[in-house]
């Protein structure tokens, strides 16, 4: 029995549909978690025209059409293509066979494939996708140069304990410390599927000196001791800051996430034979 994701590996660069995907697959196999970063401009409309894009986007095609002509359209297309390729890598399927779905709060998931959970964040031209076979994942992405400290935001996103910690840290480090807390809070509440609906002043984080594993705290600084959650921040690619929150449901370390092995073939075989036989029986009302 595992207790919390042991380590969240660094984000792997992906340059487009061709990957490289091996390191992503290897991280999933080894850690049960993988982070992927990619430039949105690396995900243009695929060759093959509208038909191919429509096939790849599947149920998201309608939403993409609604956005047509708006600046969000390209970002929507690029992030969906990236997400589908990451998910397809994890479950061993082709991207067009998978469906991205949205929970009631907009939380992303791969429909019918609960052996993996994924999450998306983007800033500027960079997107970050987190994927896990352990349970739940939330991710957030910011650039380290983003100024947040001193804007007043700390009062609406920090607990009393975090404000004390912030005030006690050297002035030049405060912006980064605040940014790391912010991304962790985003990652955690996104993993829960709640986003900003979960008040950021109701929980805090104890951060290590540099990036790495953080601890979840209650507003006055007591640790929450949720061993099944892991919180991590990572720097990558020249000043980007990635945060990930991962819940390990304790499925053990059997990390086969492939779709072709998901359906127990003995069960399918028995049911298929019985149902096929029943379907050929004459019935009334058909």
């Amino acid at each position: 029995m595992s207790s919390g994701a042991g380590l969240v590996p660094p984000p792997r660069p992906v340059l487009g549909p061709a990957g490289p995907w091996e390191p992503v697959r290897a991280d999933l196999d080894r850690y049960g978690v993988a982070l992927v970063h990619s430039r949105l401009s690396d995900w243009p409309a695929p060759p093959g025209g509208e038909g191919e894009l429509r096939r790849l986007l599947g149920r998201d095609w309608a939403r993409y059409r609604e956005l047509a002509g708006r600046p969000h359209a390209d970002r929507f297309r690029a992030t969906r293509l990236l997400l589908k390729h990451v998910a397809a890598t994890a479950v061993g399927a082709r991207p067009h066979e998978l469906e991205l779905a949205y929970g009631l709060t907009g939380r992303l998931y791969v429909r019918g494939c609960d052996q993996v959970d994924l999450n998306l964040s983007h800033t500027k031209d960079v997107a970050l996708v987190g994927i896990t076979s352990l349970g739940l994942i939330g991710v957030d992405l910011e650039h380290e140069e983003r100024r947040v400290y001193g804007s007043g935001i700390e009062r609406v996103m920090c607990t009393p304990d975090e404000l004390r910690r912030l005030a006690a840290s050297p002035e030049p480090e405060r912006n980064l410390a605040l940014l790391r807390r912010w991304t962790l809070k985003e990652a955690y509440t996104k993993a829960l599927g709640q986003g900003l609906a979960f008040s950021f002043t109701h929980f805090g984080f104890d951060l290590p000196e540099s990036c790495g594993r953080a601890r979840l705290l209650r507003p006055h600084g007591d640790p929450v001791n949720e061993h099944w959650w892991t919180f991590h921040t990572r720097r990558f690619a020249g000043g980007y800051l990635a945060a990930a929150a991962v819940r390990d449901d304790g499925r053990g370390r059997n990390l086969d996430t492939g779709l072709t092995t998901a359906l127990d073939h003995r069960t399918v075989q028995v049911l298929w034979e019985r149902q096929a036989a029943a379907a050929h029986q004459p019935r009334g009302g058909g």
Binding site: M1, S3, R59, V91, A93, R94, E97, L98, E99, A101, G103, L104, R111, G112, C113, D114, Q115, T189, L192, G193, Q194, A197, F198, S199, H202, F203, R218, P219, V224, N225, E226, H227, W228, D249, G250, R251, G252, N254, D256, T257, L259, T260, T261, A262, L263, D264, H265, R266, T267, V268, V270, L271, W272, R274, Q275, A276, A278, A279, G285, G286
Partner: protein
């Protein structure tokens, strides 16, 4: 299973007796209340007082057939009867009740008379049964390894293999075992179903493996066993050699239908805790004090629970009413109810804020139930088994247009009335038909009239739009089905089956809600369209259809109903029974 028929009201009386015996769970002085249960969980122990009370009340009888001296007659009421345990503590419920139930259901369905008598004797005497499943490819640690069996020259069964995680391995008198058949003549993927007595195995050939710890339901006594050419006594095999998977599927349907019904008890406590938090600790506070977002979360949780109970009710009653076509329904319920309950928990977590993280005090049970749910639902391995049941059925959706005449009977959607006994042979048919879908056509073709001035008229118009969207969804699912029927007539495990199984399960929940609404007693809460349109709105959104917006007044009415049930300690389910707190 039995010829005797027991009226549901009898189960309601027993439910009230169990609630009364366990008492107000919020009372800190109650030795079987949340404070004591959380304390046992912190120590990773079974809650002693609650376990003792469970056996004093004689709750094992709930899942022993009446014909064998127990109380079990209907699976719908079995789910309801175990909710008081799941409301309080999943460790208690799984450790004492669910594990024994799963270890005995196959015996009731496919065991011989002696095996049934033996199992009933153990359970009615306060003993335990457990189950050791076979290995699954996508297994968690409970199904990552398996036992083996072969026949010696003299016909003796010899056991081998190990399992690291068997619940109550040290406490159970009986262990239902899926053992891979490994004789030279046996086919590669064959299993036999055995009813073993772990305590009676020769120590020299049976090793006890150490305790296995879990993050959720920490108090469960899970450990492992290893057999080394261990001889099994005669008479342990259920059914025929090598028939384990086929026979086990009959029990799987029953267990898959019953578990979601039980899980609703955990969700009930989740919503009750969130409401206690939101109204400031006093359930007598005014609903008008709630913020709009809290009202929405509470109303949404209530209708999600009613939708979950609708599919759980239809799935459990289908075992009796439509045994040849219940397997897909049971799988849909088992697949979706834990997902919907999990989503409900997290939506309510945002309402609770810091209280979501508390490990002590009156709100702490919330985080425990959130953690325990992942253990009870069994996660992805359970989903995959459910999807393996739904996927081969999908191509048969093309056989009909699912008109109103094919709609399943009203008996499926009532919380009262007696049902025919379980018929094990008919459960084995896996009939490839589904009468729930016909309820879309029935509700479209026979709309409920709304006389002028009827306050529900706007909601009924909204419902009509929702029904049209459900029809669109059914058509879209059917469009995807031909690809699953392979050219040689064999089912193709095309990866595109996976999203379809999820969509189809959501559609079935919507149909179950329609059935419950149309078959409810006139004038009752369930007969009003308010909960129905709110539930369908959420199911349609999960299916990717925005759908018409539910009016604020309807949300306010549902939140008020949730608060009313909190004040009166009334269950958040279709039964609406009184609780002890």
């Amino acid at each position: 299973m039995t010829d005797r028929i027991m009226d549901t009201s009898t189960a309601a009386v027993r439910h009230a007796a169990v609630e009364e015996a366990f008492g107000d769970p919020w009372d800190r002085a109650n030795p079987t209340g949340f404070a004591a249960l959380l304390d046992a969980d912190d120590r990773a122990e079974l809650p002693r007082a609650a376990v003792e009370l469970y056996h004093r009340v004689g709750m094992n009888a709930e899942y022993v057939p009446a014909a064998l001296g127990g109380c079990l007659e209907q699976i719908d009421t079995l789910g309801m009867m175990l909710r008081p345990l799941f409301r309080r503590d999943a460790t208690l419920a799984v450790g004492e009740a669910l594990t024994s139930l799963m270890g005995s259901m196959a015996v009731w369905l496919v065991g011989d008379a002696e095996q049934q008598r033996r199992t009933a004797r153990v359970l009615l005497g306060g003993g335990r049964a457990t189950v050791a499943y076979q290995e699954f490819k996508h297994g968690n640690d409970f199904v990552a390894d398996e036992f083996r069996v072969r026949r010696a020259a003299d016909g003796t069964l010899l056991l081998g293999g190990r399992k690291a995680a068997v619940n109550n391995a040290d406490r159970a008198a009986l262990m239902l075992t899926y053992a891979r058949t490994v004789g030279p003549q046996d086919p590669e993927d064959g299993y036999s179903l055995l009813l073993l007595e772990p305590g009676a195995m020769p120590a020299a050939a049976c090793d006890r493996l150490p305790r296995y710890r879990t993050e959720g339901t920490q108090g469960l006594q899970i450990s492992g066993l290893r057999f080394r050419d261990c001889p099994a006594p005669a008479g342990v095999m259920l059914g025929e050699w090598g028939d384990g998977i086929t026979l086990g599927l009959r029990a799987l349907q029953v267990n898959s239908a019953a578990v979601p019904s039980m899980i609703i008890g955990m969700a009930d406590t989740g919503l009750r805790t969130a409401i206690r938090f939101a109204v400031g600790g006093s359930v007598h506070n005014n609903p008008a004090r709630l913020s709009g977002s809290a009202r929405g979360a509470i109303a949404g949780a209530l209708v999600d629970l009613l939708a979950c109970d609708s599919i759980a009710l239809a799935a459990t009653r289908a075992l009796h009413v439509l045994p040849e076509e219940c397997n897909v329904l049971a799988a849909a319920a088992k697949y979706l109810v834990p997902k919907i309950v999990g989503e409900t928990f997290y939506r309510l977590s945002a309402l609770m804020g810091d209280a979501f993280h508390t490990r002590s005090g009156e709100h702490a049970i919330f985080q425990k139930h959130v953690r325990d749910l992942t253990m009870v639902s069994f996660g992805h391995v359970s989903s995959a088994v459910c999807q393996a049941t739904i996927a081969p059925f999908l191509p048969s959706l093309l056989a009909h247009d699912w008109p109103a005449e094919l709609a399943a009977p009203a008996e499926l959607f009532r919380t009262d009335g007696t049902l025919p006994p379980l018929a094990s042979e008919r459960l084995a048919a896996f009939g490839g038909r589904d009468g729930l879908i016909g309820w879309i056509a029935r509700c479209r073709e026979e709309p409920q009239p709304a006389p002028p001035g009827d306050p529900d008229a706007p909601l009924l118009r909204l419902l009509s739009d929702q029904l049209a969207l459900l029809d669109v969804e059914l058509a879209a699912i059917r469009e995807g089905c031909p690809a699953l029927d392979g050219p040689d007539g064999r089912f193709v495990t095309d990866t595109s089956a996976f999203p379809l199984t999820d969509r189809y399960a959501l559609l079935l929940v919507a149909c179950a809600c329609l059935g419950v609404w149309r078959c409810a007693d006139p004038g009752s809460f369930q007969a009003r369209p308010t909960w129905l349109v709110a539930a369908l709105n959420r199911l349609l959104r999960r299916l990717g259809h925005a759908g018409p917006r539910v009016p604020d007044a309807a949300t306010a009415e549902l939140a008020a109903e949730a608060l009313r049930r909190a004040r009166g300690a009334i269950g958040y389910d279709l039964y609406g029974l009184e609780l002890a707190g």
